[in-house]
């Protein structure tokens, strides 16, 4: 099965034909479920597929697929796709440059970090009979007390 077989080409062609501005195309392609699914494919595979289609005959299907691939790449981290978007100018795709500019303008770099909870291991401590409480809490660590 080809990478772009899952694309909803009929719907995408409709959007393309109705598009009067690059922003309309950008927003509607970005919302399209089949493009969102396509964007799950790794960056290298998408770029390789773009390179294969760009040399083919410029039919409506191919043009829409190229836009779909460009839009799929707009879901990726800017570090991964910067090189691809920078060289888009060399291809004869009408709104590629505008789509690149919209993508770059909308992209605010975002760092996402996850910090895991510190594992607190119970501390076993022997306390004498004279201790007033069978449970002591020190430094937030639960202490299991055993009477002598």
């Amino acid at each position: 099965m080809k990478l772009t077989d899952e694309l909803d080409l009929n719907e995408l062609k409709k959007i393309y034909l109705f598009s009067n501005t690059p922003l309309y195309l950008y927003n509607n392609f970005k919302r399209n479920k089949s493009i969102q699914n396509l964007s799950e494919t790794d960056t290298k595979t998408l770029i390789n597929h773009f390179d294969k289609i760009i040399i083919k005959k410029p039919t409506l299907d191919n043009l829409v697929t190229l836009y779909a691939l460009i839009m799929g790449l707009t879901f990726k981290d800017i570090h991964e796709v910067n090189g691809f978007f920078d060289k888009l100018d060399i291809y004869n795709i009408e709104w590629a440059k505008e789509i690149r500019n919209i993508y770059k303008a909308k992209n605010i770099p975002t760092q996402i970090y996850k910090v895991k909870a510190r594992i607190i291991r119970p501390e076993i401590k022997i306390i004498s009979e004279s201790a007033s409480s069978p449970m002591q809490i020190k430094d937030s660590k639960p202490i299991i007390s055993i009477k002598e």
Partner: protein, 134 residues
């Protein structure tokens, strides 16, 4: 000079894939508990920074969480502006133990403090035991 635009803690921070917009919900202003230590299962720290022309693009930063003057957690991370003037970070803290009531402070800095966010941690009335002498 790096300037903080927004710093806050919330129960949820979501980034929309389509629009790349951030949605923040349930901003934490204060916490109340009848008993301590208090365990917070998950919380999000969000900040948006702005740099000037000529400032570095990649800055090593640190988030320090303190309760009054006691350090609870330190998170080193890198803030990358990627050629832009603004950058944001979302730090998910998957579990935080607050040993006692006080002032929970989230300090963001890179050697010097850039911004901070404070949450008041209160003890609320729990069950009371009254002992009376005969």
């Amino acid at each position: 000079m790096i300037k903080p635009i927004l710093t806050l803690c919330a129960e949820g921070v979501v980034i929309d894939r389509e629009t790349n917009n951030v949605s923040i919900f349930n901003i934490l202003e204060q916490l109340s508990s009848p008993g301590f230590p208090l365990f917070i299962q998950k919380l999000f720290f969000f900040h948006l920074l702005e740099r000037d022309e000529g400032d570095q693009e990649k800055i090593d930063m640190e988030l320090k969480i303190e309760l009054d003057d006691n350090e609870l957690l330190k998170v080193p991370f890198r803030n990358d502006f990627q050629g832009k003037m603004r950058s944001r970070s979302v730090i998910t803290i998957g579990g935080l133990v607050i040993p006692n009531p006080g002032s929970l402070k989230f300090n963001l800095g890179n050697g010097v403090e850039l911004s901070s966010y404070k949450i008041i941690v209160n003890r609320i009335g729990g069950p009371k035991a009254e002992v009376k002498a005969e």
